[in-house]
Amino acid sequence: MKSETPLYSLHERVWHWLQALAMILLILTGLAIHYPDRFGILGSLANAIRFHAWLGGALILNAFLGAFYHLTAEKYHHFLPRMDDFTGAAVRQARFYLYGIFRGEKHPLDLDPKRKLNPLQKITYLVLLNLLLPFQIVTGVLMWGADRWPDLFDRVGGLWLLGPAHTLGAYLFLAFLIGHIYLATTGPTPLALFREMTTGEGVE
């Protein structure tokens, strides 16, 4: 049954899909940079590097706009876990995914516009948006600026540190993306949550 109020506002949905698109393209171009002889997309490594840098810039801008929106619209609280989210609620959510979902149990949490994320999502996004994303942005920007700020680049360890660090972050993002897309199929129907994030129409 459709809910009265969209679970995700237009701003949130646009932000989400832009971020998703940038991330997917960043991963693809990142693979083209990391394995240039196997993922020879975009014609050349130089093109992949240039496109990767533009996409990184777009993702940073979108992240900034997203942060601005969530702060000014006072929607940041969706991402802030409560103490219970780390303990009982998280356990209940995990139990649902690992057991209840197979028995057709009801989702432990009723999502509504004021409570959009389950405890595991909050914990995941807490790490993703506050640690992994900044980590990728910092390491990525430093590598992008290797010719612009060579002293700083070398002082922080140069490619020998930044390259593997950024690569590890990318792998973790890819792992997240796979899990995220899969879990998005766990709605009432496999595509229901995708539709909800696209049209804003909620599901029960």
Partner: protein, 698 residues
């Protein structure tokens, strides 16, 4: 960089003459009304060829003395000869200088003087010889073996203590003095050298400054110990001299003018031409389709050791030798040669006002107006020519990086618009890495003195050729270089293409130096040949030979530790080496020539940024390399040989370790952790989704 010359005696008359000459050089064409075309030059003034007493040789009939002819009132002979081309490191015999450049302690100088060279497996004169066993190549023997190229003067004129041979002070310090003795290789004794008979080899100015100089004729005389007439021999092809009997040269009167000066057009004194430099340093020519670097059947350094061909002609047009695939090579052997550049354009005299570097980086000056009087340069031209620093540069260390780097002539930033991260690339790569992607000529591959052939000498192999190097019908396939890190002018390590020459030799651990060739010969052979063949000792034939008692090339290998031990024992027994050790040394001979333009340069990113990067290309070393023996690289033990595969190859992974090459370098930890995370996420999704499907849950 300018070289200060605050005080030196120039006689007033000579000074005015030099100034007048310099002014004429500068203004001559202006007086004619037209700007001189590029490369225009005025002829050298006519000169009198003088003997060592300062008399005109036309009257005396004695050998030409360059000290008197070129020196005297015009050029400062001793200043010129006090440079590396003449001294070969003798003036730099400083132990701390050697160690600071990583030169092995058994070498005496940062030059050929006192250096142990793996290719001839010989050591030129060194100080402190205490017994005949320590004597290898003395100064006189060096002149007979190497005097064809080495330009006389310096160590060809003065003994170890700086006394001029033939002068009253020039006396041997003892029976083993390497300045006054020579080793009798057959008898194994050290005997005196008669300098009175051989004469002195003064600096051979003609070898470099006369376009028709004949190194071959010079070599004949030095090899025969006829040093006195060597400089005359160099002029054999000019029509000025004629070889006579008993090594004496006569002068052709027709080559002289009535005033006793030699005809300038015959001598044709000039700046060194490509061909002058080519006589010793490797094949160079402005534009030729026939390349025969073995014209004198001996060492041609640059060409033999790395395949350098500084030639402006297109490879496609090469008529000899047979260059495989040349039809697709519609570009010159070297792009700089094709533009008409000469060796001296880069390797100039550092105080030549027309070419000298006039910047002062310490004061942040790109141009520091030169104050050097051209007359001073003409009087005292610095013959320590500008040079770079590429491996295995263990010579002339005090003059490294005195030439202009590529970026000081080319606007690299503007020329590489296509290249992302230009500065990073320029910092990590020598220009040659992309601009010398392949060598289309042959070069030395290995020189194995560990097992001597039945010619009494080493087994030499070449890369880039199928067949003999002296056979014009051999297919020259060329080779792709290996890559090593080398320091640039500012000390940054850059990846650079290189040839690799792998030597195998015996090391005398007691003496702390390589075993001399004559000692290895004593270990391998029953007797030295007297017109006949070398004869292996029975122990060698038994261990290495076939049933017929013949040691064939494929069998002449150290394929078991027992064979190494056997020769070690023979060296102890017959060679007088108490503690020998078989060693391998991999010597890089890096690329600085054979440059191609942008059309042929490497521009494909994945040439380097890929798992199979060209930077890790496994260049083959020597099919017959022994295993489990120390490997030396860069003067130190190093793990640079990969014994896997068909034949041993160069393994530069450790050397290139400090370079993180995107697309090529991997952190094993990150790769495992990263893909484990991805695989875990995927596996969870598949298993979880599978169970959901199985249970019929959405």
């Amino acid at each position: 960089m300018s070289v200060p010359f605050p005080h030196f005696p120039v006689r007033a008359g000579a000074r005015y003459a030099l100034i007048a000459l310099a002014a004429a050089l500068a203004c001559g064409s202006a007086l004619a009304g037209d700007a001189p075309p590029p490369g225009a030059r005025l002829p050298h003034p006519a000169l009198v060829l003088k003997d060592d007493a300062g008399h005109n040789v036309l009257q005396s009939g004695r050998p030409i003395s360059t000290r008197q002819t070129c020196g005297g009132d015009c050029h400062d002979y001793d200043f010129i000869a006090n440079s590396f081309h003449f001294q070969q490191g003798k003036t730099e015999m400083d132990r701390s200088l050697l160690s600071s450049h990583g030169i092995a302690a058994f070498n005496s100088s940062p030059g050929m003087f006192g250096k142990f060279s793996i290719i001839p497996n010989r050591q030129l004169t060194h100080a402190g010889i205490a017994s005949p066993d320590d004597a290898d190549m003395s100064q006189p023997e060096w002149l007979t073996k190497c005097g064809g190229c080495h330009t006389g003067g310096g160590i060809s004129e003065f003994d170890l203590r700086g006394h001029r041979f033939g002068s009253p002070d020039a006396k041997p310090s003892g029976p083993l003095d390497p300045s006054y003795t020579i080793r009798d290789r057959e008898k194994g004794t050290v005997i005196p050298w008669d300098w009175e008979k051989s004469g002195i080899a003064e600096a051979d100015c003609f070898l470099c400054h006369v376009p028709k100089a004949s190194r071959a004729e010079r070599k004949k005389e030095t090899a025969a110990g006829n040093f006195r007439w060597a400089n005359n021999a160099t002029l054999s092809d000019t029509g000025i001299v004629t070889a006579g009997v008993n090594g004496v040269f006569t002068y052709n009167r027709a080559a002289f003018r009535p005033d006793g000066t030699v005809k300038p057009e015959l001598l044709d004194l000039t700046d060194p031409t490509l061909e002058n430099c080519a006589q010793c340093h490797g094949f160079t020519a402005r534009n030729t389709t026939s390349i025969q670097p073995i014209q004198h059947a001996d060492i041609m350094r640059g060409t033999e050791k790395a395949g350098w061909v500084f030639n402006g002609a297109k490879i496609r047009d090469t008529e000899s030798p047979k260059i495989v695939g040349k039809d697709h090579m519609n570009y010159p052997w070297d792009v700089h040669a094709a533009k008409g550049m000469l060796c001296i354009d880069c390797h100039f005299s550092p105080n030549n006002p027309g070419r000298m570097i006039q910047e002062d980086p310490k004061k942040n000056l790109r141009y520091k107006p030169g104050t050097l009087d051209p007359a001073i340069y003409l009087k005292r031209p610095d013959h320590n020519f500008a040079r770079g620093n590429i491996p295995p540069e263990t010579v002339n260390v005090t003059r490294h990086n005195t030439m202009r780097s590529c970026g000081e002539c080319h606007e690299a930033e503007k020329l590489h618009a296509f290249l992302p991260y230009k500065e990073r690339h320029f910092q990590a790569l020598a220009c040659q890495t992309c601009h010398t992607p392949a060598v289309h000529f042959w070069a030395y591959r290995s020189d194995d003195w560990g097992f001597l052939m039945d010619t009494g000498t080493s087994r030499v192999t070449f890369r880039g050729i199928e067949g003999s190097i002296v056979d014009p019908e051999s297919d020259v396939t060329g080779y792709k270089p290996a890559y090593i890190p080398t320091p640039d002018k500012s000390g940054h390590m850059k990846i650079r293409p290189t040839n690799l020459i792998t030597g195998v030799y015996w090391f005398d651990k007691t003496k702390g130096r390589p075993v001399f060739t004559w000692q290895v010969q004593q270990a391998f052979f029953e007797s030295l040949p007297e017109g006949g063949e070398w004869k292996y000792r029975p122990e060698i034939v038994k261990a290495f030979g076939d049933q017929d008692g013949i040691v064939d090339i494929p069998q002449a290998v150290f394929d078991t530790p027992q064979k190494i031990e056997l020769v070690k024992g023979l060296l102890q027994k017959y060679g007088g080496v108490p503690d020998p050790e078989l060693r391998i040394e991999v010597v890089p001979w890096a690329m600085s020539h054979n440059n191609v333009g942008k059309g042929q340069a490497v521009k494909e990113c994945t040439a380097c940024h890929a798992r199979n990067s060209m930077l890790n290309r496994p260049l083959d070393l020597n099919t017959f390399l022994p295993r489990n023996v120390p490997v030396i690289y860069g003067g130190k033990r190093a793990s640079v040989i990969n014994y896997q595969g068909k034949q041993p190859s160069f393994d530069n992974r450790t050397l290139l370790g400090p370079f993180y090459i995107i697309g090529n370098s991997r952190s094993t930890f990150v790769e495992w952790l990263g893909w484990l995370a991805v695989a875990g996420s995927l596996l969870f999704s598949l298993v979880h989704g599978g169970i959901r499907a199985w249970k019929g849950r959405s």
